[in-house]
Symmetry: C2
Subunit: 298 residues, 2 copies
Amino acid sequence: MSSNRPRLLRVALVQEINHGDAATNLAVIEQRVAEAAAAGAQLVLLQELHNGPYFCQHESVDEFDRAEAIPGPSSERLSELAKQHGVVIVGSLFERRAPGLYHNTAVVLERDGRLLARYRKMHIPDDPGFYEKFYFTPGDIGFQPVDTSVGRLGVLVCWDQWYPEGARLMALAGAELLLYPTAIGWDRNDSEDEQQRQRQAWIISQRGHAVANGLPVLSCNRTGFEQAPGSEEGIDFWGSSFVAGPQGEMLAEASVDKPQLLVVDVDMARSEAVRRIWPFLRDRRIDAYDDLLKRYRD
Amino acid sequence: MSSNRPRLLRVALVQEINHGDAATNLAVIEQRVAEAAAAGAQLVLLQELHNGPYFCQHESVDEFDRAEAIPGPSSERLSELAKQHGVVIVGSLFERRAPGLYHNTAVVLERDGRLLARYRKMHIPDDPGFYEKFYFTPGDIGFQPVDTSVGRLGVLVCWDQWYPEGARLMALAGAELLLYPTAIGWDRNDSEDEQQRQRQAWIISQRGHAVANGLPVLSCNRTGFEQAPGSEEGIDFWGSSFVAGPQGEMLAEASVDKPQLLVVDVDMARSEAVRRIWPFLRDRRIDAYDDLLKRYRD
């Protein structure tokens, strides 16, 4: 390992339950960001669709009322919060781009309050309990990291976390950190074994992106049970928000079932040291990767 | 999880130290394959360059004397062994393709003894102690799985294990298993913390490929210390050969520092069940992956 001088970045992840409507959730977020800033955090990552319940448990046209323009009231409130505390904030909003055209969109607010960029979730899931294809048009602005005062951030969202392609494209564009606002949990009908395999798979997948790209990864997940509208069923969000270093090493991990503000120092200088001993980017066989652009090689 | 009926495949991984020359190492392999077959294994995976020491610790033209044609004496011996025990064998040889043209090549022997296919290592490392670019021409036959009596095998080699691209291309071509003969270990000058981060990163990376592709992964590594020629230094191969299921779950793991025959049942029907709940292949954004074919997005 080379002797690069550490360059510490203090990051905070706000793992929360759903507290109700947007006003209430944003009030809680304001409190948590204040705590994070008081603890010295320079970058705060929020969970996916933090303004309300995970409404994708059912398909209802009324849920589109939750969507907002960006910039709009919520992005502006996050912007003020970023400026007030002098921290970079990565939030996650339901974007109303046009009537009938909506996205699952992450926003990056600079510490001076500027809305620097948005990322529109590229990979959209659709499984029982996660009916996202009904709500979210797949992103059309690609995998573009954003330059901020704390580094070049590769912001992705939830289902993207299963795709090595998204992580790689961010790394190839110079991202220094990967960040995932996310909302994932258990179906209570699954066995305990299956539940633990799922949670571990989710962690492994993202730590794998850290390893493959020599980059730290931040992942902020919901916690708590949310009942599906008109059903006895629901999702047990499994928390477990975490920060991994550029060898995939776990730097900090939040609880499974409790709200938690996770504050941790990430050494931004370690990535280059790690990439010098494991220079994966040097040896990619770009002459032989054409079929990655196919749906299937049949 | 769907109720697919299990379809068990018993696999064996031969984790060994270097016993000296090719004759001696192949004699040990013959013993281990006999044991594996007696234990009911249908597929046997050997470690990287199992015929001798990991000679890439230095650069010497004399080491090319170890290379052989394929088919050649060693592939024929593995072929006889496969036929004798009625098992599929995946071996790893130093291939002499032409004078001055050599590859790090995996071979797949059918249970009737036929040499079905070879895979020439695509990603070639070069780091202190692992001077592979001197010896091995990068593979030119791409990422092609091979159909065998035990399924379609996605055979890759060592340094490939750090590349999500190789695993994905094998999965997209219908591979049902990913297999990695490998030779990786520690530099004794590294701290214990660094050593454990490296070993864990190696495991996480490959379990990550299992998750991303909904496929079991078999990885067979060397164990034991091998001194570099003309040096006090050497590599402590870290063993830890393992088999993971299609959610990245660890099914079996060998010791760090001892030879071990790892025999385990893999349920080949689970992949489709897992892919039904996590249909990652459905949602790949192949319209947005063009830049994966670039060295860097600058």
